[in-house]
């Protein structure tokens, strides 16, 4: 994961130069603004590195390579869901239903395998379809029925949270459970499905590889394709984009469908990790995913949502939580630290940055 972190700023910076809006704010840097610019651009990466080194020096167990990988594994779910949130932030919105979609995916995958004795591949396909479907419904609410993003996805979040409990009578789905008609559930979690979280490619856990690939894909899509650049244009100024002939609604719809799919991929990893249809899974995911996507807007000093920033944000949260846990920091202190990190990131992007941040959550409503 260290490689993309370093690569991120240059590559994404190149992508940013191609954006015409970027040139407006470019002025000759004085020495003072040069330092500030440096702080804005690399300050967050520096904090991540400092924290990492601090934990590695302070705690022997933090230095183990397996700790590094389990940390990245911990971050992988938040990272993939955060990528989806990033996409909706790119078009100027926010998807609040991601946590519940991930939770729904856990239940659906468990139902497919345990209730209907399907193989892992079928469970995966059904989950991805369901995720895309929720994204499409969100898009319908937002684009066609013109309900503001936050409100539409808030509503769908509640509906999904309740709806997923209906077919399972509010119970976690596990193999060997007694069904409504008194019979025992025929299936179980299949080994190929469990491998999503538990398999390794070389020393690297599979979910970390999956998230790495999705991050590369998202980065490429957003900065190297016409669609991605137009999504940024839609987010920056939908009216201007519309006047320039962009079909704004389609791009916003696309962002929500992709967000639903990404959230369901996060749910697949969770489901495979837990090994049962845990009804409480994904509960804490929404806030973490939004936080890493927000942190991501500032990480590289871009002041806009971007794929590598989100990944770095997730890795930072992973380092923090694992490091604090190992040093014996009480659990209630971890949220405080998470909040401070978010605040720091926001300071970088809103206060210290010369460039106006293009993502201002308040502007969404």
């Amino acid at each position: 994961m260290a490689v993309p972190e370093v690569k991120g700023p240059q590559v994404d910076g190149d992508g940013a130069k191609a954006d015409p809006a970027e040139k407006v704010t470019a002025t000759a840097p004085s020495p003072r603004t040069g330092v500030r610019e440096l702080a804005v651009r690399y300050g967050f990466i520096a904090i991540t590195v400092v924290l990492f080194v601090y934990f590695a020096v302070a705690e022997e167990s933090f230095r183990q390579p397996s700790t590094l990988f389990s940390m990245l594994k911990f971050a992988s779910v938040v990272a993939v869901v955060g990528l989806g949130v990033t996409l909706t932030m790119v078009v100027g919105g926010l998807d609040l239903s991601v946590g519940s979609v991930a939770g729904m995916s856990v239940t659906i995958s468990a139902m497919a395998m345990v209730f209907y004795a399907q193989v892992g591949g079928v469970a995966i396909a059904v989950v991805l379809l369901a995720g895309a479907l929720v994204g499409a419904v969100n898009a319908l609410l937002i684009v066609v029925l013109r309900i503001p993003d936050l409100l539409a996805t808030l509503a769908s979040m509640f509906v999904i949270m309740g709806l997923k409990l209906v077919p399972v009578d509010g119970q976690s789905v596990s193999s060997g459970m007694v069904l409504r008609d008194g019979s025992v559930a025929p299936g179980k979690f299949t080994p190929d499905f469990l491998a999503i979280d538990r398999a390794f490619i070389g020393p690297v856990p599979l979910p970390v590889v999956i998230v790495g690939l999705l991050a590369v894909g998202t980065w490429f899509f957003l900065t190297r394709t016409r669609w991605g650049r137009l999504m940024y244009a839609v987010g920056a100024n939908p009216e201007a984009a519309r006047l320039a002939g962009v079909r704004v609604g389609r791009y916003r719809a696309l962002a929500y469908v992709l967000s639903g799919v990404f959230a369901s991929i996060g749910g697949l990893i969770l489901s495979s990790r837990i090994g049962q249809g845990d009804i409480s899974a994904g509960n804490s995911l929404l806030l973490d995913a939004v936080a890493v996507a927000l942190v991501g807007t500032s990480v590289l000093g871009l002041g806009r949502p971007n794929a590598w920033g989100t990944i770095l944000g997730a890795v930072l949260i992973g380092i923090l939580i694992t490091g604090l846990t190992i040093t014996g920091f009480p659990y209630y202190g971890q949220d405080i630290v998470k909040g401070i990190v978010l605040l720091l990131a926001l300071l970088f992007s809103f206060t210290l940055s010369r460039r106006r941040s293009r993502y201002a959550p308040a502007a969404v409503i």
Binding site: D197, I274, G328, P330, I340, T351
Partner: protein, 379 residues
């Protein structure tokens, strides 16, 4: 909204940056301070301190070396009174044994407990304790730990089938149920009409149910009703069920409700129907709040059987120490319960758990999982 703030931003730029930098500085300072708290979470509220017993024997390997033994405690949840006490007991016993204990608290997030377990396995500890969790989630990882050569001790996770090499510990539900039902047998005549409040399908309650079936048959008690459901507010919801059952069967002499939330619901239903002089209620578990209910004027809750979470946490650490020293001969250790009667509470004016522990030292289970080289803690 964002457009209006852009224009003011330009004029206020410098001041904003200074304010931001000051805030940033103080935030960093704060973060810096908080990381100095030390390795064992000294920010936790002061817990009950233990009295440490004396160890007479020679310490066996690996406790005889200069390097302290390290263990990890991988918890599903460490929040709430019960688990705070459990963890406190474990920490104090570990300290008495010179063990460094690293606590991973997943905050009731099963996925996080899985990654915690993985971190713990790779962290270079000598043994791992797993406290609660889903067996589907934890079993493969417990086996990973065992395969890595680490002793793994489980508290209250169903793993016998899938990880037979792990050491399984649990509260002895059969002993809890037997204790309280022996008391009920003394009080309630054979053949009397009785009521039963329980929820089947939850492992510890199922085990208590097995003892109930046996004792009820032996006493030829006539079970007039069997109700109970598991919800978000167990006591309130079950009070309604028991209320209805009592209205239909007002003549019962005793009710068995083997989990304190069920017991509390049953007690309030009995009181609603003004039956407290005729119906006796028998429960399981105790907390300071439960003591208040039991000792209240005219309470029908006459006895309960319980264990002390502090003592259980400590005993699990002792089991782990014995396993590390290769002195544990069984794969299964159960912790026995203690009977607490309303009479005892009232006679000694006991109002909280500390006073109860002072009155009933057997709650400390100092005889369970011990050896002459282990300084046993009691609370």
């Amino acid at each position: 909204m964002s457009k209006s703030s852009t224009s003011t931003h330009l004029t206020r730029g410098r001041a904003t940056v200074r304010a931001g930098a000051a805030l940033l500085g103080s935030a960093l300072l704060l973060a810096g301070c908080s990381q100095d708290l030390g390795p064992t979470g000294s920010a936790a509220p002061p817990p009950e301190t233990a009295t440490v017993g004396e160890a007479t024997g020679q310490k066996p390997a690996p406790f005889d070396g200069a390097e302290p033994v390290k263990i990890a405690l991988v918890q599903n949840s460490g929040a709430g009174d019960y688990f705070q006490q459990w963890t406190n007991g474990a920490r104090q016993q570990a300290e008495a044994l010179g063990i460094e204990i690293q606590v991973y608290d997943a905050q009731a997030d099963n996925a996080r407990q899985a990654t915690d377990m993985q971190t713990a396995i790779g962290s270079g500890v000598d043994a791992i304790i797993v406290d609660h969790g889903q067996s589907d989630t934890m079993c493969p990882l417990i086996n990973d730990g065992l395969d890595a050569g680490l002793p793994v001790v489980i508290y209250d996770v169903e793993i016998t089938a899938c990880a037979p090499k792990a050491v399984e510990t649990a509260q002895d539900d059969a002993s809890l149920a037997s204790l309280i039902l022996d008391k009920m047998t003394e009080d309630i005549a054979p053949g009397s009409p009785v009521g039963y409040v329980n929820v089947l399908g939850i492992a510890p309650l199922d085990r208590r149910n097995a003892v109930w079936d046996e004792v009820r048959a032996k006493n030829t008690w006539d079970q007039k009703f069997f109700v109970g459901e598991f919800t978000n507010s167990v006591a309130t919801d079950n009070a309604q069920l028991v209320d209805a059952a009592l209205k239909a069967n007002p003549g019962v002499a005793g009710i068995f409700a083997p989990y304190d939330e069920l017991t509390k619901g049953t007690v309030s239903a009995v009181q609603q129907n003004n039956l407290q002089s005729q119906v006796k209620v028998y429960g399981v578990d105790i907390s300071t709040a439960d003591i208040e209910v039991m000792t209240a004027e005219g309470s029908p809750w006459v006895a309960t059987a319980t264990t002390d979470p502090n003592a259980i946490g400590a005993a699990v650490v002792r089991v782990t120490a014995l396993e590390l020293a290769e002195q544990l001969d069984s794969r299964e250790v159960v912790f026995p319960g203690t009977l607490v009667t309303q009479e005892l509470l009232k006679q000694n004016s006991i109002q909280n758990l500390d006073q109860l522990r002072a009155e009933l030292p057997e709650l400390n289970m100092t005889e369970v999982a011990t050896a002459d080289w282990i300084p046993v803690v009691s609370f």
